[in-house]
Structure formats: C-alpha cells, structure tokens
C-alpha cells in the first residue's frame, strides 16, 4: 500500500466532507438544538422546583389518636405539611370549599390492628389520592416509635443505614476508601467509549456509504481505480471520513463539556475512578473496531445501486456492533463469567466488552486474555479490510443487475 496515495485520498475525503454545508449545519446546529431543547425541558422542572420549596399541605383526621396533634395544628415532614382536623366534615370543607389542602387522610380508629388509612381527593389533589403517602408513613412511624422506644433506637429504625462509607480491596489486599458513587464512576469510561464508538461508526459509516454511492453515481470510480488500488482508496476513505465523523463527535463533546450541560453535569460531581488499563487500551480498541466495522460497511455498502440501498446494506454491521449492549446487565453482575469470556473473543463485541471488564475489575482479567482478544480483533480487522477491499472493487464496478453471491466471490477472488 502506498501511504502517499492513502494520504491524498484521506485529505480529499476529510476536507470535502467538513466543508460541506450539511456537515457544518449538523455539527454546529446539533448542540444548539440540544441546548434549546434542554432549555425548554428545564422550564417545567424549574417551575416544579419553585413549587416544591413551599410544603404541600394535606389534611389528616386522626381517629386513632396516634399523632398527638391539636385541631388546626400543622406538622411538616420533609416537603409535606399535615394539618390536623378534629372531624372529617371540616377536612372536607377545607378540601372542596376553601381548597386549603390537596387531599386528606383519615387514620381509622382500628388503625393499629388493621393499618387502614382512607385517602380523600378533591379538585386540587395533584398526583392522586396517595400523593404524600411516604411523608404520612414517616409521620406515623415516628409517632408510633416515639413513645415506646429510645429516641436513638427510633432514629435507627427509621433510617437503619444513615452513614455510608465505601472501601475497595485491591488484588494486593490493600484497602482504599472510595466514594459511594465509584461503581457508577467506573461505568463512565465504558459508557463513553461505547457512545463514541457507535456514534462515530454511525456518523462516519453514513458519510462512507454516501461518498461511495456518490462516486458510483458520478462515475468517478474508474478514474480512481486507475490511479490507486481498492485497498488504498478504502483505507483513505476510512481515515478521511472516519476523521470527519470523529471530529464531529469531538466537537459535540467539547461543546457539551464547555457549557457543563447534560453529560458533564451528570458525570463531574461523581467520584470518577477510571482504571488506567481501560484508559490505555481504549484508543487502540477504538481505532481497530472502527477499521473493522467501517471496512465491512464500506465493502458491502458498495454493492448498493444508490445511497439508500448502500446504507441498508452497510448499516447491517452497525447493528451487529451493538451486540454487547444486550449483555450489559449480565456483564455488570458477572464481569468475568462465561458470557463475558465469550464476548471478549468475538471481534464484534470484543472492544466494548474489554473496556467494560477492565473498567469494572482490571485485576480480574489476565494479560493473556487481553492480548489474545486484541490479537484476534487485529487479525479480524486485517482480514475484514482485505475482504472488504475486494468486495469494494467488485461493488464499485458493478452496473446493472446484481450478480449472484458465487459470482461476487469469484470476481472478488480474481480482483487485482
């Protein structure tokens, strides 16, 4: 392969894509659209928060005489206030005529024996009759315990695990403190990796297929093939259009992080602890996985008669790449189980599985398993590029009726 030719194709594909109006609109417009959407979504959330700052008032008719509240007295539990009514008629008036309460509860006289509480809704009952149930339960528990056990015991009964501290015991037996969100933090890298990989593959794959179909339609193919090999053209396209796709994703990420919106707000407050092994291996896996899937998409996509047909043919591989996502719950519960081991050796699932396993438990994977899996992936990528470049050549020159699979294979074998 002549790298100078590859570089020429790469540069042409990259520059001609990033200069396209459609690319610029999508790249720069998507974050603006996301910001506008998020802004609109934040308005109701903000209004709801303002409403929450004033406690919601419910009525309570304590027929069991458990709460120890006088008529008209109000007690606040977290975001809910409970106003005591001596009889149900007054509570009903407060609910319907005065609209002073959202709903009212009747704690029945046989409550201790039956646990019966009757909820009554009115015109302003919000989310339904049992809105405020959690707060009422807490109030009842507090009152039930308050007179019977010590305050400390009562507090523990109400919140048995009040103080949480997390430690991690490493493979060498060393104990290290870590935040309670560390587990979620360890998922940040694999989630980010899978997000970047799939977004890049989908974006770049779409550009790859579009560019190839356009070249077929514009009849530029023969000129290209008379100046460069199918390998060189395909590699150049993979790099150039992959670069355009990756650049787009990076711009989105940068803008997202820049405004500390969405992803950043979700991630930054967490105690993010990322395994260095996963960090080190992620770029290699990313590039290899992209080359593997991209070449297959390009090879099969080149058989399409037009852009839509090419996309249908090529996108099949993108769906295969989502394979590990189906097994995420299983991988999380047992990162070194049988399924995890199998997925590690399948080229389609290996990149995401490796990053996930190394992020969750870097010490649980042997060096040989990591190296072997990467070797299989690299070899598969090499084979995929070779096969795809031959298919690509046959597909590019294809006109009229599509030949049989046997004929495609025969031509691919005989291709220069």
């Amino acid at each position: 392969m002549r790298w100078r030719t590859v570089r020429t194709v790469t540069w042409f594909e990259l520059t001609s894509t990033v200069r396209r109006l459609g690319y610029l609109i999508v790249t720069l417009g998507m974050p603006v659209f996301a910001l506008l959407y998020a802004g609109l979504a934040l308005i109701p959330a903000k209004l709801a928060k303002e409403q929450e700052s004033a406690p919601r008032i419910y009525g309570v008719v304590d027929q069991a005489a458990l709460l120890g509240l006088g008529d008209g007295e109000v007690i606040v539990v977290r975001s809910a206030g409970f106003r005591c009514f001596g009889d149900e008629a007054r509570a009903r008036r407060a609910l319907t005529d005065e609209r002073a309460i959202r709903s009212y509860f009747v704690v029945t006289p046989d409550y201790l024996a039956s646990g019966r509480v009757l909820a009554h809704t009115g015109p302003a009952s919000g989310l339904g009759p049992w809105e405020g149930r959690a707060e009422l339960s807490e109030l009842l528990r507090t009152r039930l315990l308050g007179t019977r056990v010590e305050p400390k015991v009562a507090a523990r009964l109400l919140e048995p695990i009040a103080g949480r501290e997390t430690f991690r015991v490493g493979g060498d037996g060393q104990v290290e403190a870590e935040g309670s969100d560390a587990f979620i933090g360890r998922l940040v890298l694999p989630i980010g990796f899978v997000f970047l990989l799939f977004t890049s593959i989908l974006m770049s794959g779409s550009y790859l297929i579009q560019a190839t179909a356009t070249e077929k339609e514009n009849k530029v193919v023969e000129v290209l093939l008379s100046s460069a090999t199918a390998d060189e053209i395909m590699t150049g396209k993979l790099l150039g259009l992959g670069g355009a796709g990756l650049l787009q994703v990076l711009i989105w990420l940068t803008m997202t992080l820049g405004v500390r919106f969405g992803f950043a707000q979700l991630v930054l407050p967490l105690d993010v602890q990322i395994a260095w092994q996963a960090v080190a291996i992620a770029p290699v896996l990313f590039i290899t996985a992209y080359a593997f899937l991209g070449s297959l998409m390009l090879g099969t996509g080149s058989f399409g008669g037009n852009v839509r047909e090419s996309q249908q043919l090529g996108m099949f591989w993108a769906f295969l790449a989502t394979l590990p996502l189906m097994f995420v719950p299983l991988l999380l519960t047992d990162p070194h189980g049988l399924v995890a081991h199998v997925l590690t050796w399948i080229p389609f699932s290996a990149p995401a599985t490796l990053v996930l396993r190394l992020s969750l438990d870097p010490d649980g994977m042997s060096v040989w398993e990591v190296a072997g899996s990467i070797a299989v992936l690299v070899l598969s990528t090499w084979a995929a590029v070779r096969l795809a470049s031959r298919l690509f050549r046959v597909g590019l020159l294809l006109t009229g009726a599509r030949p049989s699979l046997r004929e495609i294979w025969r031509q691919a074998k005989g291709a220069p």
């Binding site: 001609s16 530029v220 000129v223 008379s226 460069a228 090999t229 004929e407 031509q411 005989g414 291709a415």
Partner: protein, 302 residues
Amino acid sequence: MTPVLVFEGVGKRYGDKTALSGVSFEVQAGEVFGLLGPNGAGKTTCIRILMDIVRADSGTMRVFGAPLGRDHDFRLAYLPEERGLYTKQRVIDVMVYFGKLKGLSAAEARARARTWLERIGLSSVENHQVERLSKGMSQKVQIAATLLSEPELCVLDEPFSGLDPVNTALVRDLIGEIRASGRTTILSTHQMSMVETLCDRVALLSEGRRVVYGPIDEVRRRYSAAELRITIEGELPELPGVESVTCERPGTHRVVLAGDTDPQRVLASLIDAGVPVLRYERVLAPMEDIFIRVVQHGEDRG
C-alpha cells in the same frame, strides 16, 4: 524498440459471458493506437485490464517491458468512456486531486491545472462547482485532468463524444501534441474519421476477438479495391488494364483497375500520352466501411 504495451492471448470472462478471447496486440512507443470495435466487443475490458482495474483470466500483458505493477500507475492515465467528476467540488480541487493521485505534489498539480484550464479556455471556471459546468465543459475538464500528469501512455476512451466541432478539433490537436512529444496514446473511438486522421495503427475487436490489426494504411489497403483517383487537365485517354472509369467531376476520374494491373503502369501510360497529371492517388477504403464490412458481414482479410 520495446513496445509500450504487449497483449498476448489475453482472455477474460464475466460469469458465462466471454469478454475477451485470446486477444493479442502491441502498442509501439510514440504512436496513436486505435482500439476499435462495436459496443460490447471487449475494448473497455482490454483497457480495464491494462489499468489494473480488472484482472485477465488468461494470457499475459507487459507494460513498458514489464508485468503490470503499481509503479505503472503514475506513467499511465485513463479517460474512461463513462466519465464523471465530483459534482459538488470546485473544478480546481478535482483537478488537483486527480493530479495528486498521479504522484504530483499539491503545488505542482495546482500549477499544471491552472495552465491546462487556460489552455482549454476554462480559466474563468476554476473556482466553480463542477455541477455548474456544461457537459462539454466537464468533458474538457476531465480530459485536462487526465493529461495533467503528462503520462507516458494515455488511454482515451471516446474522447470526442459530446464535444462540438471546435472542441473536437481542440482534443484532436491535443492528441497530436502527445504524439509529437513522443508519448503514446491508445484511442478508442467510434468516429472513424478521427481514426483515419490520428491513428498510426489499429486493432479492431469483435465479440471479444481481434479481427483486424496493423498499420492503418496497410489495413485500409487490405480492404480496398484496386482503385485510383486521377485529376488531370483535359480528356482522359484510353488506359490499359482498366476495368471502368467514373467521372466524379470535370477533370477528376475514379478508375477501377482490372485484375492485377500495376497502378504505376496506368501513371506511366498517362505521362506517355502527354496528359498533365495534377493529382494521382490510390483510393483507400474508409475505416467506416471496413468496420461495417468486418463487424456486420464478417469479412476477414487477415
């Protein structure tokens, strides 16, 4: 001198269809070689094999005295019959890209592209998008892009299609310049008048086989009747060994010779008779006639 290109018994099949069957020919350095034939005769397959776009099933091919290799890419250039350019790109960018693919540096490709655009009268569209060009303009841009790298062997498949007479003359002159510079052209065209004007030698393919091959004059002679066109002053005297005489216009006669009459004997008779001879020529069969006779009627004269 080593031929620039040698095809020896080259065969190619696409599925059940035989595209080429044992085709052999040579192209000499510095000549314009006509690769002729009806649609589907195998010309494009020959060219695609030469350009390493498809591989032959049998036979051998040598380019510049050696088997085809990637090094040859920069010495060959190809203008395909089914032409196209990147419609959304600027003219100059497309030309620079094609030039770079042929091994030129970006600066050199840009400089040459500008020279060529000036040469073909399209400097003003340098920064236009290709889709804004007319069909003829696109055609000229593509020809210029093909010749940008000054290839040693240039393959032009139907370079005149879609061109008006002015631009046809321009392309004809360009091919003449390539020959004058000692470089080689393989010309595939259905315009037989251009073949007669430009080609030194030809190979005519039909149904994947080479049916006519050789220097163009020799081929035309081979397929010509023994005919002379004579322009004289005054009346044409009775001539020996002549079968018939047709007066084309006053003073110009078409003379069909009988049997194996030597044309020189006819000329000598005219001079002996004291007739002033203004023009004396052998009438050669036009390539178009030969093409039809060979392809349609299967006439074979070796």
